[in-house]
Subunit: 414 residues, 2 copies
């Protein structure tokens, strides 16, 4: 058995079994442990250790020495310390919506946490057109609690500054600064544009100076606005879900940033599911039913967040000036404006940039895929340029539906 | 001789002499050292050690165990670490505009630095109606360099985040959050309002919900906008000056905040000098001449800052999006808007709050003092409420002159 106490090495499946036996009193002595590496992310190895006798299971998540997304990004494994601290903190702020963390090991750069194998990655479930009627309620509670309760509205300001310091996250922030805010908006070598969409991207994105100027403003907000302790990568691949449970995972991009960033990522990824379903569900009735479900979910996420945020503000605000008449609404509007902007940024970068979403790449017909991409990009531009007018669930849905409508003739003749 | 190596204690003048002999190879062996504690600040002890033979001298600045401003504020002496690091960094960014630091001692919580006794505190010099024709040029260079070169426009973003972390400053920020952004704007026990001004303050400040709402927005900007490594307390009492030299001292409030904060503090304190001179200089010709000098200085600080900032941006910007057409102007406008707001906040808090300025308190005639205070507060409100329209040196001067004009009848009949 290897030595887990002196120096970091990337574990094999057998190492993971040995590790759990040595380090944690979780399984019976007689347990028959097996292990499989199930990670499909870009940054980590994920070991699932199961007791074949009892069925009990647990997860070990280990940071790889180099991020797997690309050799260009070399990341310090400190991100797993951030992840484990964040999961504990967010578990306190929004109980039940993150996996439980049993231990964090700074030498092996790994943490041991709940096995959520009875859940499914939300993106995959949406690709199979499953519905989760509780999702909007769950995610809006998670968002309102984690975003408001970590802000200066509620936290003692000195405690908040300690958290800002603890979660400064230069390397992971740099990835977002590049991939989300910069590269998609010019002809950068790293972009991967689907051939049929290229001309549209060149004209509507890379040659649009007005759009570029807005992305500069937004990038500086992302780099300077220490508003809330955000998840930082809250797409549907960072959500484990089943009918009655929603668990937010992978908070390694967490830092103090604009609160709207997390909400915008959720909305954008629901929009990918919507646009995808529009092309891939063949049965017309089933399609309309599922699109209605997704449309309502998008609207509900925004409205439930708004309602819960305002209610929580009234209950929890401690900062004197936060209680001045009118300020709550000003603050919320600014979050919703950021939400609209980030919805647009996420839609853009997943079509133009190097990190794609399966919702779109799994559209097998090339013409359909180009149409789907143009719909997403049309919505993206509107979200960014008109962000100060987008405030309600209906406003978000309207931008989506108008972008679909703009291509309805092409869709029919397809 | 006491032991300076094991535990902190507040030094006597004799201790300071012993300290410098033990710790620094600055004076001759035969030097005849004398020492006087010359601090008049609220947070520190300042020892001036002189060699009576050669005239050579040096300063030891030691953090008191408790801030002297009030027993309510207990500060960790870590602020002197921040001060010494900041002076070194700002000395590199704006050479010649800060005192040289020879050493920092984390046990005794003190730093040893240049003696600037041939300079004078700028506030005192302005109270004697001295002119410093190079000041606007000097301070605008200091502001443009330190504010732009520490921002994401120029710095590698990971290095900037390291600096943000290094200079998180919870205790001193709390003082500004309370004294500048909160207390002056409601009937807080700590305020000290001059009796004749009280009614005006109640009506125009404490009963004005619109003004309160704006201060809430500004306070949250101060708490969340990590734009530049600011000085954080750049009034005319933090500036040592002589005809050909300007030295910025006392950066213990430094942290990453809104760039306009420093510029606004400079402008507001020049306005105090202007309003004060208007009442205390008796000779009409001399008064007009000095008011003209101050008016031009206010305008020049803004215009020279603007010019140097834009020039430096073109030379030094490294961030790709910062070079997008139009962004430089958007960014500068936002700094000038913050400048106007902070000018108003500083004017308000020095009249209403507990920390006064001598420019105003030295006006001996009670009616004059009330008029002077009302002029400052009238300007303050305009700076805060109309901040998005105040962009040029002339705009700043206009707000001042209109506020003086509003009381010209009362001044004449006085």
């Amino acid at each position: 058995m290897k030595d887990f106490t002196s120096a970091y090495f990337t574990m094999s499946e057998q190492d993971a079994v040995d590790y759990i036996r040595t380090k944690l009193d979780f399984f019976d002595k007689n347990a028959e442990l097996t292990c499989r590496e199930i990670g499909d992310g870009n940054l980590n190895y994920v070991f699932r250790v199961v007791d074949e006798k009892s069925g009990k299971s647990i997860i070990i998540k280990q940071a790889g020495p180099v991020a797997r997304i690309s050799d260009a990004f070399k990341l310090s494994p400190d991100r797993n310390r951030i992840e484990s601290d964040i999961l504990k903190l967010k578990g306190e702020l929004a109980p039940g919506f993150v996996p439980e963390v049993y231990s964090y090991d700074p030498i092996m750069n790994c943490c041991v946490m709940d096995d959520l194998s009875d859940h499914e990655i939300m993106r995959s479930a949406l690709l199979k057109h499953q519905k989760f009627p509780l999702f909007a309620d769950h995610i809006s509670t998670f968002l309102a609690n984690t975003l408001l309760l970590t802000s200066d509205v509620v936290l003692e300001h000195k405690d908040k500054k300690d958290l800002v310091k603890q979660f400064i996250n230069p390397e992971l922030c740099e990835i977002s600064e590049d991939l989300v805010y910069t590269e998609p908006f010019y002809d950068c070598e790293q972009n991967e544009v689907f051939p049929g969409t290229k001309e549209f991207v060149v004209e509507e994105f890379w040659n649009d100076q007005k759009l570029a100027l807005e992305t500069a403003k937004l990038k500086f907000e992302f780099m300077t606005k220490a508003q809330s302790l955000i998840h930082g990568d809250l797409h549907t691949g960072s959500i484990f879900i089943k009918k009655d449970s929603t668990k937010i995972i992978d908070p390694e991009f967490a830092f103090y940033g604009p609160a709207g960033y997390d909400i915008g990522n959720v909305i954008a990824n629901l929009i990918f599911a919507y646009v995808s379903s529009n092309f891939v569900i063949e049965d017309q009735e089933k399609k309309e039913d599922y699109l209605l479900y997704l449309k309502n979910t998008i609207s509900d996420v925004v409205q439930l967040f708004t309602d819960k945020f305002l209610k929580l503000w009234d209950e929890k605000a401690t900062e004197r000036t936060a209680k001045y008449p009118g300020f709550k609404e000003v603050y919320l509007n600014s979050i919703l404006e950021d939400t609209a902007a980030v919805t647009g940024l996420e839609l853009s970068r997943r079509i133009i940039g190097l990190a794609k979403v399966k919702d779109i790449t799994s559209i097998t017909d090339d013409n359909d895929r180009v149409l789907a991409e143009k719909i997403c990009l049309t919505a993206a531009k509107t979200f960014i340029l008109n962000r100060s007018d987008i405030r309600t669930g209906n406003d978000f849905v309207k931008v989506l539906l108008e972008s679909v409508s703009a291509y309805s003739e092409s869709i029919k003749s397809n």
